[in-house]
Amino acid sequence: MSRVLIVEDEPQIRRFVRLALHGEGCEVTETGTLREGLALAGDTRPDLVILDLGLPDGDGLDFIRAWRAWSEAPLLVLSARGLEADKVAALDAGADDYLSKPFGVAELLARARALLRRRGAGEGAARPLREFGRVAVDLARREVRVDGQAVHLTPIEYRLLTLFLSHPGRVLTHRQLLREVWGPGHGNSGHTLRVYVGRLRHLLEQDPTQPQHVLTEIGVGYRFESEAAPT
């Protein structure tokens, strides 16, 4: 059974998040303040933290940094739409994903499951074959096939793809992707990253203008979904 800590000052939101996670069979602890949240995090050692960025007694970023100092467990941030810069800051500080308010139970559970599963399975588990949509990737042979046809990817395109594959369902910020694929010192090459993601989509997506797997999180980064969302 997974332990989840909710740090959110609005009791009604806490309530429905708790009910939803209970339904998933999680053990839920909750609090409305940052200070108590950190104390509880130390006591209960949760497998997932759900954190509201706008808490009355402090900056959510402080919580993330303090938490990351001693735990690797995933952290999901709740934030209002339009505060993209806050989300990016939280993700760069070590948060794993975010949800924009208002959000539905279905979205919440999908994110929570993805984060908990990652922990369970262990990232980059030794599964050399990955499949999504009409794409099959053989990580051991560095081969990519679309509808059974081998497709040539440049080294950067391939590195980008493997990075997405190893973080399914998670949002990766522009900065994280640039650092991982191009290395440090490419902080201002956001446009290059976007062009490469576009090329990847043209190679792998059915309709690159309406991608199903390499999704854009506007103002934040990208998210890879291995299963196409029903539209």
Binding site: E84, R194, T209, Q210, P211, T216
Partner: protein, 503 residues
Amino acid sequence: MHNRFPKRVASLARRGVPGYFLAVAACAAVALPVRLLAPWLAPANIVMLFLLAVFLVALYLGRRPAMLAAFLSVAVFDFFFVQPHFSFAVVDAQYLVTFSVMLAVALITGQFAARLGQQAEEALERESHTRALYEMARELAGAVSVAQVAETTQQFLEAGLGATASLLLPDANDKLHAVAEGQAVSQDFSLPRRAYQRGEPVEVLGFSGRGVITLYLPLLTPMRARGVLEITAEAGLLHQERALLDTVASLAAIAVERLHYAEVARAVEMRMAAERLRHSVLASLSHDLRTPLTALVGLADTLLLDVDPATHRETAQALREQAMALTRMVNNLLDLARLSAGGVVLRREWQPLEEVAGAAIKLLGTALDGHPVTVRLPTDLPLLEFDAVLLERVIGNLLDNAAKYAPAASPILLEAHLAQGQVEVSVCDEGPGFPQGLELLEPFVRGAAESSQPGIGLGLAICKAIVEAHGGRLELANPPEGGARARFTLPLGSPPAIDEEMP
């Protein structure tokens, strides 16, 4: 504007050496032919011809050349035509009387003729002044900005008097500024301020040369001084034309005052329009926000009272839809508030349009309500510089509109074209088109007032604000082939180079 005072130039030339030279020439012109015809002419008629020459000289060249001509005529008559010839000696004493009378008549007619000529010339000069003033007054009456008033006044004084002039007007703090930058002679405004505050002219020796003065004339109107006219020119000229300058100043004053009151009237009108808008905003907001709220309360109560679990699911679904509709409204309200507060800093980055289009479609999700969206972008579309979050709102709102008003399941087309330094992005649907005669791009104007479609008439207003902040334009049209088309432009720039991989 030039040649407004042609006579002035002529009269200056007349007083110079050429006048005397011409007077001598006139006498010579009479003397030569008369000398040849002398055997057939009576001395009395020769005198008459000389008098005619003096008269003409007086009329066209003025008093002094006429006097010269008078004396010269008598001398020439004596020298060439009176016995003994080629000598000033006179045999017949009768000629002394002829000389005296001739001289007297020449001088007197010369005087009269010169005065006549001068008066005619002054009349012409006055007329040209009046015409120039009239033209300036007409231009001032049609001026729609103080800059135009300043320009007209400057050009008039420049062409007329060779003077440099500039218009100094008070700002909101009653501090004087030159209308055109860098036009004022002095950077120290204490002298014009004195003229402005006391309402009387101030004169100072010019900075730019000897004999040059600067005159500050207050622009007086019945209520108060409206500014100061600064004129720099030759001192003598300024004093001579003082009445003209006063007229110019008062014409400029009237023009400035007229513009002031036009501005006041426009401000009042805008305040009234803002007031009307506030009323309509409140009315429409209270209706459009209360409707989904009422539905939310009612649906929640239904859940409480309804004992049949079979209908719970349906009610909960309706509850969710209402809440999401309310969310979109609140988002739009907040967006517009942020945009119109002017506090939005665009986070412009170079990026492909394709990405933001895909994100907008994805975000709308179920709100697209089964309308298939086709995205058609040119393959050579370069990167564009825009704020992705805001542009996603634009595309999202346009798609949302199309989905709301077009018939169920009809296709929506999102396409882009390259055109003359910009990209045109259009969203086309197969709906009934935009209603005519409505300012749909204004906030709180809805195509279908109080319709069953939820909304508060902000979507397009937000799109317009965002597109214009990016230096583009948003247009709505109903193309002849049917449906509605919302099209916005974005400027093309020079995108940065891509860090390509080493092969």
